[in-house]
């Protein structure tokens, strides 16, 4: 959705190109990244969101499970955001503190995003690098398999899995992990193909290094740029997927919650004048996605400074 194939392609071309300059690619990239205001702001926002997720509970006056009986039943009148009764973001329609629930939701959503992305990095990189390096019939079979898996409407299969094997975070991770690595493996394979015939790989082959060691020690480190950019862009996609499922009520189960579940609750109650229930989770959701996109784009432009 967000991954622009042309830019990814040009990024891999650039990273596969021979280096002539003295300064390292990474030092150059860091310099360019820091000059990109949107990306730096994105990074700062992500840092703040991270602090919010980790330390938010120490600030909250209520826990995410307590019911505030004094506002129950009159949430529209008394449950609004206020500093005096400790509900900084207001309460939900059951009288639970929305601040504590947003902290909780932020934790789950970030965790899903990062774990999903990590699975993609590990599985996708190894799979793609193996297919690209080994080549020939193995490559053909491996990539055809990816083609087939990609044409399966995964969201439906994921919902199928969640319903049949019970809704739990573990199942959600398995489901998201099953699909997230497909794109990554394609990108990594393409990159590996262009690395494969470089002299340093040839040298390793000539000295009799086993294939697996070549992939692990020589190919994978050189894939880092592409993988880092794609992983950053994958986190918001994973968050979107999880939110989608939680919006349908099939994801994270109470008392745990996530941004998707909170947005769903907020969307269900907009009729009753409790707008803060939608506004706060939505705000966190949107700025985090923005931040990830900007950081990912910034990283990509920093590693591939072609002007567009």
């Amino acid at each position: 959705m967000v991954v622009d194939t042309i830019k990814m392609k040009s990024l891999s071309d650039r990273l596969a190109a021979e280096e002539v300059k003295g300064r390292s690619l990474w030092a150059d990239a860091r310099h360019r990244f820091l000059r990109n205001k949107a990306a730096v702001v994105g990074l700062v926002i992500l840092f703040l969101i991270g602090l919010f997720a980790i330390f938010g509970n120490y600030v909250a006056a209520w826990s995410n499970e307590e019911l505030d009986f004094s506002v129950m039943g009159q949430v529209a009148d008394l449950g609004g955001p206020s500093l005096s009764n400790g509900h900084y973001f207001g309460t939900d329609d059951l009288g639970r503190d929305l601040f504590a629930r947003t902290v909780q939701g932020t934790r789950i959503s970030l965790m899903v995003g990062i774990v999903g992305s990590l699975i993609a990095v590990v599985v996708g990189t190894l799979y793609g690098a193996t297919a690209g390096y080994v080549g020939g019939r193995v490559d053909n079979i491996m990539m055809r398999t990816v083609d087939i898996l990609m044409s399966i409407p995964y969201m439906f299969v994921l919902i199928l899995l969640l319903v049949m094997f019970g809704r739990s975070i573990a199942m959600l991770f398995i489901g998201i992990g099953l699909i997230s690595w497909l794109d990554m493996s394609r990108i990594v394979r393409g990159q590996t193909l262009s690395l494969k015939h470089k002299e340093f790989i040839e040298a390793a082959q000539a000295t009799g290094v086993p294939s697996f060691t070549i992939i692990w020690r020589h190919i994978v480190p050189n894939l880092l740029g592409v993988v880092a950019v794609y992983a950053t862009l994958l986190v918001p996609l994973m968050i979107l997927t999880e939110s989608f499922i939680s919006f349908l009520g099939l994801g994270v189960q109470e008392p745990l919650t996530s941004w998707g579940a909170l947005i769903s609750e907020g969307a269900g109650t907009i009729n009753y004048g409790t707008l803060w229930q939608l506004a706060f989770p939505l705000f966190f959701f949107i700025i985090t996605l923005f931040a990830f996109f900007f950081v990912g784009d910034g990283l990509r432009d920093a590693l591939d400074p072609k002007d567009r």
Partner: protein
């Protein structure tokens, strides 16, 4: 060309079979059968039920029957929950609705997205470009489940212009919000992809040649730049279609439009496996078919692909 299509079909058919087999096996691997209830049924009743639905036969036999039913008669079997309805009836009820707003959303996303992207690329680094980039970046974080409540809030609760849900046989005022909610983020992505690929094409040699020989700018763009610039957009349409069909689930639920997304989620919550599988397979078949069309279109436009 024909052999290319045949080759693509040769991949599409096994994919579809694989999808059917996977979902069938999943259904059987799930703990608890369709008739597992809180109070256990008497064994005799259970045996009769299983005999009626063919669940007493060996697994391979059931699978063969299921696949054969779909391939030969386009029959997905009876629903496990609604005793008087078949999966076909349930799908036939919701599918036209999904098809209507789905194809409208798709058309809207492609038309607006492409025009916006092309306009931004032609007027590179002007206010129009910045506006288009801003809008498309902003819209990208507004997936359907975020757009839907926002639209209802603005147009139903504040302005009172549009009804907040329902379908009513497809009256226009019931269609607008589902279509907009579903298409926004795709419009944004298509605009972004079109813009960057159009910029790349406009900087290429053949466009410089076209300009150098004095063609009017309009002709340069329509005749020479648009076609190659569309290639990345076309390859994006396949995944976009899948995501859009998935999004119909949210639209159906939030706007109560009654499409197949509703049938899917209802069956998911009721554990009506037959309907779930029927919808999954139908969507899978549509996806594969659509990807096939996209591939053929791509091969037709891109002179570099030989078949």
């Amino acid at each position: 060309m024909l052999s290319y299509i045949a080759k693509r079909l040769a991949i599409a058919v096994p994919t579809l079979l694989l999808l059917i087999i996977i979902s069938f096996l999943l259904m059987h691997a799930a703990p608890g059968g369709p008739f597992t209830q809180e109070r256990a049924l008497p064994p005799q009743v259970l045996a009769n039920l299983e005999a009626k639905y063919g669940l007493d036969q060996p697994l391979w036999r059931q699978m063969a029957n299921y696949v054969w039913g779909i391939v030969a008669h386009f029959d997905f079997g009876p629903s496990f929950i609604y005793k008087d309805r078949t999966v076909n009836e349930i799908i036939a009820q919701g599918f036209p609705v999904t098809l209507t707003y789905g194809s409208l959303s798709f058309a809207l996303a492609v038309l607006v997205g492409v025009s916006l992207g092309v306009a931004a690329a032609i007027r590179h680094n002007t206010w129009l470009d910045y506006l288009a980039v801003g809008v498309s970046i902003g819209a990208q974080v507004l997936p359907n489940f975020v757009m839907a409540p926002i639209l209802v809030l603005v147009f139903t609760l504040w302005l009172r212009w549009l009804p907040g849900g329902g379908w009513e046989g497809g009256e226009w005022q019931y269609i607008i919000m589902p279509v907009v909610a579903l298409s926004t983020s795709f419009m944004a992505s298509i605009a972004r992809i079109t813009r960057s690929s159009m910029l790349e094409v406009l900087n290429s040699n053949h466009i410089r040649t076209a300009r150098a020989k004095g063609l009017p700018e309009r002709k340069v763009i329509l005749r020479h730049a648009l076609k190659p610039a569309m290639l990345p957009v076309i390859s994006y349409l396949g995944p976009a279609f899948v995501t859009m069909i998935t999004g119909s689930v949210v639209v159906d639920i939030y706007f109560s439009t009654g499409g197949i997304g509703k049938a899917f989620v209802d069956s998911a919550l009721n554990r009506d496996y037959a309907v779930m599988m029927g919808v999954t397979i139908l969507v899978g078949a549509l996806t594969i078919l659509f990807n096939l069309v996209v591939d053929i279109l791509y091969a037709w436009i891109d002179p570099k692909i030989r078949y």
